[in-house]
């Protein structure tokens, strides 16, 4: 409806605009910072879900957990890796895998082994991006700005959000790395040579059943789209305002595309959770860790095990919506 009518209905009276009021309302980055905060919130949930999915894949693969042993992690304190290793160990607390004296392999493929440093780098970038957003959220981007204590009015360049733009670019790139290794883990779990499980995790191997084979296409498409969206937008925009404004960081679009990455990553995490849960079901039933057990229960609350072929797209959408609503995060925090 016309906003004039909406204001009247809401009983909001309009004051008169005085000097500077227009620029005082408009000269800020509230759209970029507001949508940035929403994107960061979702990114935190998705990265946590993806790390839990990775840990469930480690369980399903009977992986060698020595790369997350605190003693070897302490040899190099890479940003994010220490925390992610700790998170993975805590998710797997109580798991039979942690007690295994003779793991199935001396070394697993890097997509399994490097879960902590790769996802850790993304957690680290998430923290840095949050710091950049908070600086803007709690600051004033106005120009000119009133210096209340000095009773002065001065031009500023505090509307420039290059630091925020670069932080989100880095976050998007970091997330694209987590997407790549998740994609490889999913394919490995479906491959009998690696997992020792039926091909494409079909419980009844004989006949024309597809299992999760075709889901690989969805996974591959998601990873490709994420990698595409992670390409940097770059330093160039066409000059505007008759050349006075000859530079801009395109922060709102960078944030929007990072959010698009996050939404795709939520689907990828949902798929890995479902595939890893199926692999757990088909394997020798070992005791899962507390967190990986909760992740498994979260999957089975929303998605039944795949016995006969069915359309699985809706399963993944349902699970992605639940994890974006914070349901898995709440279960893991309980």
């Amino acid at each position: 409806m016309p906003a004039r009518k909406a204001l009247h209905t809401a009983n909001i009276e309009l004051p008169t605009l005085g000097p500077k009021d227009a620029i005082a309302l408009l000269n800020a980055n509230a759209y970029g910072i507001g949508t940035g905060a929403l994107a960061l919130h979702d990114a935190g949930l998705v990265l946590q879900a993806q790390t839990a999915a990775g840990a469930l894949s480690l369980e399903a693969a009977g992986a060698n957990l020595s790369p997350t042993d605190p003693r070897v992690v302490a040899l190099r304190r890479a940003p994010g890796q220490v925390g992610a290793s700790r998170l993975i160990r805590s998710l797997m607390k109580g798991s039979d895998l942690l007690k295994a004296r003779h793991p199935r392999r001396v070394q697993d493929p890097l997509s399994f082994r490097c879960l902590a440093p790769v996802n850790g780098a993304a957690f680290d970038q998430l923290d840095r991006t949050e710091a950049a957003v908070l600086a803007d959220l709690n600051g004033a981007g106005d120009s000119p700005a009133v210096l209340v204590e000095d009773e002065e009015l001065m031009s500023t360049v505090n509307f420039d959000t290059t630091a925020v733009s670069l932080a989100f670019e880095s976050l998007g790139l970091a997330l694209s790395h987590t997407a790549a290794i998740a994609t490889f883990r999913i394919a490995k779990l479906m491959s009998p040579g690696f997992s020792g499980l039926p091909r494409f995790l079909t419980p009844k191997a004989a006949g024309a059943r597809t299992g999760f084979a075709t889901v690989q296409k969805t996974v591959s498409a998601l990873e490709a789209e994420i990698r595409h969206l992670a390409l940097p937008l770059g330093a160039m925009t066409a000059p505007v305002a008759d050349g006075v404004e000859d530079y801009a960081p395109m922060t709102p679009r960078v944030i929007e595309k990072t959010h698009e990455i996050v939404r795709r990553l939520a689907r990828l995490a949902a798929i890995e959770l479902v595939v890893a849960a199926q692999a757990v079901d088909l394997g020798d039933r070992r005791k899962l860790g507390r967190g990986t057990g909760q992740a498994f229960a979260f999957v089975r609350k929303h998605v039944a095990r795949l016995d006969e072929d069915r359309p699985t797209g809706p399963d993944f959408e349902r699970l992605a919506a639940a994890l974006l609503a914070g349901e898995l995060g709440a279960a893991l925090a309980a």
Binding site: A10, L14, P15, A24
Partner: protein, 146 residues
Amino acid sequence: MAVARAGAAVRIAPAVAPRLERARRIVEHFASGDRAVYGLNTGLGAAVDTALTQDEIAAFQRQAVMARAVGVGSFLATDEVRATLFVRLVGITRGASGLSPAFATVIRDMLDKGLHPRARRIGTLGEADLSPLAQLFLPLVGQGEA
């Protein structure tokens, strides 16, 4: 997040009002003076070289908001509208904007009463989000849809 997605109520702390009043008096002091201040008694962007007379300053505010409502493309989602309005309100409460204090209350009321103006996404470069903010504040100049 609570404000953007769960409709939480917004309160402006009591310490804010005196700060906004003080900042506003400083703006009004400069508005009646001779010194050129960007956007106060000059045009915006390339029009920084154009002086505004006292008579023009009032009409200029309305024009400046309307002329910046240049967004195209998809509409912002409701959580994006609320997050944007909330972040702008937080910024204003610092006092550096020098906005007429009554408008801070209007923005709070828009959030609390669920008055969500429509705004289209494309048209800002991230050197201040003039286009989305101008669209969201069109109601303040009697324009726009909500």
